[in-house]
Amino acid sequence: MAKILIIEDDPDMVTALRLPLEAEGYEVYTASSGQEGLQKVKEIEPDLIILDVMMETTTAGFQVSLQLRSPDPNSEYAPYRDIPILILTAIHTTTSLRFGPDEAYLPVDDFVDKPVDPDVLLQKVRTLLEQRKSSD
């Protein structure tokens, strides 16, 4: 079954995400900061990453996605560039950030709105994993 890494600093939010994912049979791993997240990406080589934006800094999540999607072929994260990223957003706290279908600034594959609806989460996870499989 697919491996999913949740990078999120709020342990209760991790629970809310983990329960539906585990109920679906996914193998769930967690990291509580952007730094730890990047390290776990290398260790676990997940099939999908769920990423929070505001963690140790207000843009820690952006930094993680920028590192993972770095166009530099010598980047230490180059082998993980194709892992799909699902970002967690909160509409009212992010409208002032440059945040949209803007590849140059935020290279992610899809968004899940906070509060998270588990059915929407699972549907997005399924879609991204299928897309990845078919492009392999």
């Binding site: 809310a16 995400l17 992010t94 968004f111 509060p115």
Partner: protein, 359 residues
């Protein structure tokens, strides 16, 4: 008027009234142990700052700048409190008369009243800004735990934490509903605080309508999907720019599209259409929702007003549309609404288009 400009004019006026060629306005420093020059006329301000420092309490005759042996002074008082000093300097010794001192005191008394008025006004502004900032921070801090709690509750409610009884399910659904209300209250307060605290906002400039509507729709797409409401945006084929702030314009469309999704039952549609008529750009947000009764329309943009059918259908605070209207008007636009109960509602926001030769 800028206070430092006002003090410059005060020094100039004092010198001219007494036909003298130099004057200075002195106010207490932060430690309140001496008076320092805040404005000077007829003397270089650096020279004035160096040479004219008056210790407190006031000496009988304050110091003078080089080349000006005589001085006449008048204390500026706010109420009974001594608040500063108005000094006029002469190049000849014993240049000033009793009459000069009386005339200067009249000017100083008037200045005291004006300083007091300016201070009160700027205190009020500061308090207002601090209050808005407090609301802004407090609501940010509140949002996060609410969102987490809502997520946990939904996870339990939908059975992902194990089976629950019908009765438990019903109670948890009530908790979910209360939390949704709390969320919308906090969101509206956040918008409300932002609309009252312009210093938190970025500077105005040209903002593209297509992009702003696109960002709002993208953020609301998950919510529409969750509710099974079809959300479609039809952008205008050319770029339409409005003089606004990106944050402000995004708030307008996020609010209107979020309302449209909220008041449209599952299976319905929300269509956002952009267009142009002459030098006006417009955005229509049309839904197939519950509609707004005719008698509610005149009150729709009042703070905290909610139409009776809206109150029954979903939680809310009645702040959203009043915020939208004030933002639309801030950018020179207008907002109109057409609605039929049971058929749907269309909000139209119209802005004057920005052209590169403007401003």
């Amino acid at each position: 008027m800028n206070p430092s400009l006002a003090f410059d004019r005060l020094a100039e006026t004092a010198a001219k009234i007494l036909s003298a060629d130099a004057a200075a306005v002195l106010l207490p420093n932060e430690a309140k142990d001496r008076l320092a020059v805040v404005a000077a006329w007829g003397i270089d301000s650096e020279t004035a700052r160096q040479h004219i420092q008056v210790p407190l309490p006031l000496p009988p005759s304050p110091p003078t700048p080089p080349g000006h042996p005589s001085v006449v002074h008048a204390p500026i008082s706010i109420g009974e409190e001594p608040a500063g000093l108005l000094c006029v300097y002469g190049r000849l010794p014993h240049r000033f008369t009793e009459e000069d001192a009386r005339r200067l005191q009249a000017l100083a008394d008037l200045s005291g009243i004006l300083i007091e008025a300016v201070r009160e006004a700027s205190d009020l502004e500061r308090i207002d800004a601090a209050k808005s900032q407090f609301i802004h921070i407090a609501t940010h801090e509140l949002r996060s735990p609410i969102a987490t709690t809502q997520s946990l509750v939904r996870t339990v409610l939908k059975g992902y934490a194990g089976p629950i009884s019908e009765q438990q399910k019903e109670i948890i659904a009530r908790i979910a509903r209360r939390l949704d209300f709390l969320e919308s209250l906090v969101n509206d307060l956040l918008d409300f605080a932002a609309s009252k605290a312009p210093e938190l906002e970025e500077e105005e400039g040209p903002v593209a309508l297509n992009a702003s509507v696109g960002r709002a729709a993208l953020l609301l797409q998950p919510r529409a999907e969750e509710k099974k409401v079809a959300l479609t945006v039809r952008p205008y084929p050319e770029e339409l720019a409005v003089w606004a702030t990106e944050d402000g314009l995004d708030r307008i469309f996020t609010n209107l599209i979020s309302n449209a999704v909220k008041y449209t039952p599952s299976g319905g549609q929300v269509t956002v259409l952009l267009g142009r008529t002459g030098d006006q750009g417009w955005v229509k947000i049309a839904d197939t929702g519950i509609g707004i009764p005719e008698e509610a329309l005149p009150h729709l943009f009042e703070e905290f007003y909610r139409a009776p059918n809206a109150r029954q259908f979903a939680v809310g605070t009645g702040l959203g549309l009043s915020i939208v209207k004030s933002l639309v008007e801030r950018y020179g636009g207008r907002i109109e609404v057409e609605s039929a109960v049971g058929e749907g509602t269309t909000f139209t926001v119209t802005f004057p288009l920005w052209r590169p030769d403007h401003r």
